[in-house]
Symmetry: C2
Subunit: 292 residues, 2 copies
């Protein structure tokens, strides 16, 4: 790809992640903020009904409904499946050019800082992420490799990525994280502008990545009831090394559950509220420094 | 009142405040933890349907439905009104003795620490709160004066109070705050045991209180749409003095909104997620040291 023609910024794919919601409302009020000369930028709210209800979703997690051509053709009464098709029609209209870049805005109750989530290792994404890491040392880069149309909004586009900021509670605005997210968006848009102009001439040779290797569920009883909490020594320690023997969970009657793996891992998305129902207490990742 | 005969501990009046939910589940599994010799202790889950749904409430905030004898006698299809009547029947059965003390467990996204919320200035409550402040310096005492049966669960009982801990996101467990809350409950139960035995002989003469004086809403446009966020310099600064001229809000286009009152106040419940819909960005309180 030599030329970016269209960029989409989506906020509120989850209705209770307010930073993305209010950033998109701001961009729709002041479109010049995201206008660049070399490409067209659109912004949209992902899940308007969930935003109105103050909930992550109405019927189903919208950000698992983007299965592309696999979307059912028949009728569905699931609101998020209908909305996923609408969004796909906006971003990839039949017979017209699709958006090249999707920036999907999220927040998390985990202490993820300013996280760029990539679904693949496309060189443009890696270089963009490296650039963003350079201008803001709080930026972290997480790779969760996914095929196209794997359900995530970002997977609709080869150059889709998410900006996932935290820790912030669901249903609230955090002004500092709002401003950080806004600055990352502008930096990404400026980078894509320079890319179009052939003006990328940074000397960044390496990029530190956190690469998803597995999920870890809470200890549960036979009824699926949670039996333990994130250990206090692990809470908010996203991206920190977890060594064999380190505490992982604390049961409700104060028993420590230790990490019994054989190698050091880097937990992320620790104690994300929306993942309790998905059976995910955290992701384990590997930390890698790659040449780019 | 010379004798406490029954104490009730209620968790999950709000279904997404998990610390109270899992503490009550623990107490129901191990009832000896809350058993004392001088009175009977019961524990119950406030809003089972909301707990299952992972939401604050189904139809209406349960903790505004306890209007006592004013509860409608006719049919209602509002789940929380029905549930409020059920709880009232459990705690105040007709023709039998009512519970004397209600301990209502809550969490908040505001940085309220370990807050004891009193609805009145009953000497037993003030002395209990002073005792709890003494054994744990993280405990703060907030007075929000309310008549009996004013809607809050705690208002059913003259000796009702809430334990409100934060900052914690909705929908997650925080192990450290779970343990702190548990310890406060045991300390309160032990104090009531000693009260019954006439063994309270502490020399506490003063108590620091934060007393509610007003609510402050977010700046909104004519459609009710929020126009600003809690200012970063105010976020998480619950109980800290706010002086005239200090920043209060930050608009989405970076304009500061200052506090224009004439006297210093102490904001609390700053940026509580559930209060956005109630039109409350924070409460202003006065800090007082009273003789007890």
């Amino acid at each position: 790809m030599n030329q970016i023609n269209q960029v989409a910024i989506v906020g509120g794919s989850h209705g209770n992640e307010l930073i993305g919601v209010y950033l998109v409302k701001k961009f729709q009020k002041y479109p010049d903020l995201i206008k660049r000369t070399g490409y067209k930028t659109v912004s949209l709210l992902g899940n308007p009904q969930a935003i109105n209800a103050g909930r992550r979703y109405i019927d189903r997690d919208l950000n698992r409904c983007f299965t592309g051509t696999n979307l059912p053709d028949g009728e569905t009464s699931i609101y998020e499946e209908i909305r996923a098709r609408e969004i796909q029609t906006i971003l990839q209209p039949q017979g017209q050019a699709s958006v090249d870049v999707i920036i999907d805005l999220h927040t998390t109750t985990a202490n993820m800082g300013l996280c760029i989530i990539l679904g693949n290792m496309h060189p443009i994404l890696l270089n963009l992420a490296a650039h963003l890491s350079t201008i803001n040392p709080l930026v972290k880069v997480y790779i969760h490799e996914q095929p196209r149309n794997s359900g995530f909004l970002r997977s609709l586009s080869e150059l889709g990525f998410a900006i996932e900021v935290g820790a912030v509670a669901q249903g609230i605005l955090d002004a500092e994280l709002f401003q950080h997210t806004e600055q990352i968006i502008y930096a990404a848009l400026d980078y894509l502008e320079q890319f179009n102009q052939g003006k990328i001439n940074e000397n960044i040779n390496t990029l530190t990545l956190y690469k998803s290797i597995s999920t870890v569920d809470y200890p549960r009883d036979e009824n699926g009831e949670i039996q333990a909490m994130i250990h206090p020594q692990l809470q908010f320690r996203d991206y920190q090394p977890l060594h064999p023997g380190n505490p992982l969970f604390l049961t409700f009657d104060d028993q420590e559950i230790l990490y019994e793996g054989e190698s050091t891992v880097y937990p992320i998305f620790i104690n994300e509220a929306a993942y309790y129902e998905k059976g995910i207490a955290m992701y384990f990742s590997q930390k890698q420094v790659i040449d780019i």
